[in-house]
């Protein structure tokens, strides 16, 4: 079975702060809410934005691995999947048909 693929609902909806130590911010143009982003959340948003098509969790793990030192691949994969599900729950990302 093909893996789920994800994309941002509206990539232009977000204004991102610089990538600061530990946390950064995203401003949601649609709701005018300001959100705190963990480094992994920020990296996933940027990876989804720059991807030419919807991405699988595995593709995102590969894209993020370069930014994470001494990572445990299984733990990183689980963290990416959990974050994607959270994005879907919040309406920020959506699954696409593989």
């Amino acid at each position: 079975m093909a893996a789920d693929r994800y994309r941002l609902v509206d990539p232009d909806r977000w204004v991102l702060s610089p990538q600061w130590t530990d946390e950064s911010l995203a401003y949601d143009r649609a709701s005018a809410d300001t959100h705190v982003l963990s480094p992994i959340a920020r990296d996933i948003i940027e990876a989804l934005r720059s991807a030419e098509r919807a991405s699988s969790a595995q593709e995102l793990v590969q894209a993020l691995a370069a930014n994470v030192e001494d990572h445990d691949p299984a733990a990183l994969h689980a963290a990416v999947e959990a974050m994607l599900l959270e994005f879907v729950r919040l309406g920020l990302a959506e699954r696409t048909n593989p």
Binding site: S17, T21, L25, Y27, R29, T34
Partner: protein, 305 residues
């Protein structure tokens, strides 16, 4: 012409008659009042401010007057009127000057939306670097501000950071520094030369007194400043004066919480606060001794990010 050029009787006559028009940094305000404490407070605290022509355009038309009821004579009260409308309940007659100050703050916070406004003191060190001290009431912000001003920092504001949302400059509005309760004695001891007005007791904020802004700060009121530090101060008895670096993302959120009109600016407001936090050293700062706190501020590193 400055307010101090008016005789005491001319000042009272103008206030009770056509009104006194003052340039208070970016604001022009026409003030009318027959209450002697307003005249006395203005004469002491606003002596160095420019008087404007009675025909000049005014941002705010302010009146401090007794209410039109028995409280005009019995347990006398005053009310603050802006454009003829009173945003507050009447308050005791003896509190007339604080009522004017609070009313002017209200006018700014509710009407001056060309600036992103944060509830914060702003002061500038002699090297031209400014600090934004953002904190809720009761945190020791004004005491720290008064202490720094007494040691030569330029006063931009004790109450409102006026931020140009695009240039990120800070516009001064140097007005009297409001001290409350124990802070009044702290500053009397720390800065005996500070010009302190009379104490209004039993206001809804407790005892309140104001410090006259330094003449030099008023003279330089047209000179904008750039923030180098954003500090969240908190007085804590016995605490060492210690700036602790604070996350920039949290700094933006805390500034937004202390802002009067962040939501009104939308994305522009977000970009402005992010730009400020990105350019500044951001700290939480507890202090228990004002002298020690001032020394820490005098030594804050320039250009740290």
């Amino acid at each position: 012409m400055k307010l101090s050029d008016l005789s005491e009787s001319s000042l009272r006559d103008r206030l009770a008659g056509e009104g006194l028009t003052l340039r208070i940094a970016p604001v022009a305000a026409r003030i009318r009042s027959e209450v002697p404490a307003v005249a006395e407070g203005l004469r002491l605290h606003y002596a160095d401010y420019e008087l404007l022509d009675g025909e000049a355009f005014c941002d705010f038309h302010i009146r401090i007057s007794p209410p039109a009821n028995l409280r005009r004579w019995f347990r006398r009260q005053v009310r603050f009127l802006h454009d003829g409308i009173s945003p507050f309940e009447p308050m005791p007659w003896e509190h007339a000057f604080p009522v004017f100050e609070w009313g002017l703050n209200w006018c700014m916070a509710n009407h001056f939306h060309q600036y992103l406004m944060i509830h914060a003191a702003v002061i500038e060190r002699a090297d031209g670097r400014a600090a934004i001290l953002a904190a809720p009431p009761g945190s020791g912000k004004s005491t720290l501000c008064a202490g720094l001003v007494a040691r030569g920092w330029r006063l931009l504001s004790d109450e409102l950071a006026l931020i140009d949302p695009r240039a990120l400059t800070l516009t001064p509005i140097p007005r009297p520094i409001s001290l409350k309760n124990e802070s009044i004695e702290v500053i009397r001891r720390f800065a005996p030369a500070a010009v302190l007005g009379s104490v209004s007791h039993d206001t809804h904020k407790g005892a309140v007194a104001h410090i006259k802004p330094p003449r030099e700060s008023v003279r330089r009121a047209a000179e904008k400043a750039r923030a180098a530090w954003i500090v969240f101060p908190r007085y804590q008895a016995g605490a060492p004066a210690e700036p602790k670096p604070f996350l920039k993302a949290r700094t933006v959120l805390r500034l937004a919480e202390n802002a009067f009109n962040y939501a009104a600016f939308g994305e522009t407001g977000f970009r402005a606060l992010v730009g400020l936090a990105d350019a500044c050293g951001c700290y939480e700062f507890s202090y228990g001794d004002l002298g020690e706190a001032v020394r820490v501020f005098d030594a804050l590193p320039a250009g740290e990010r």
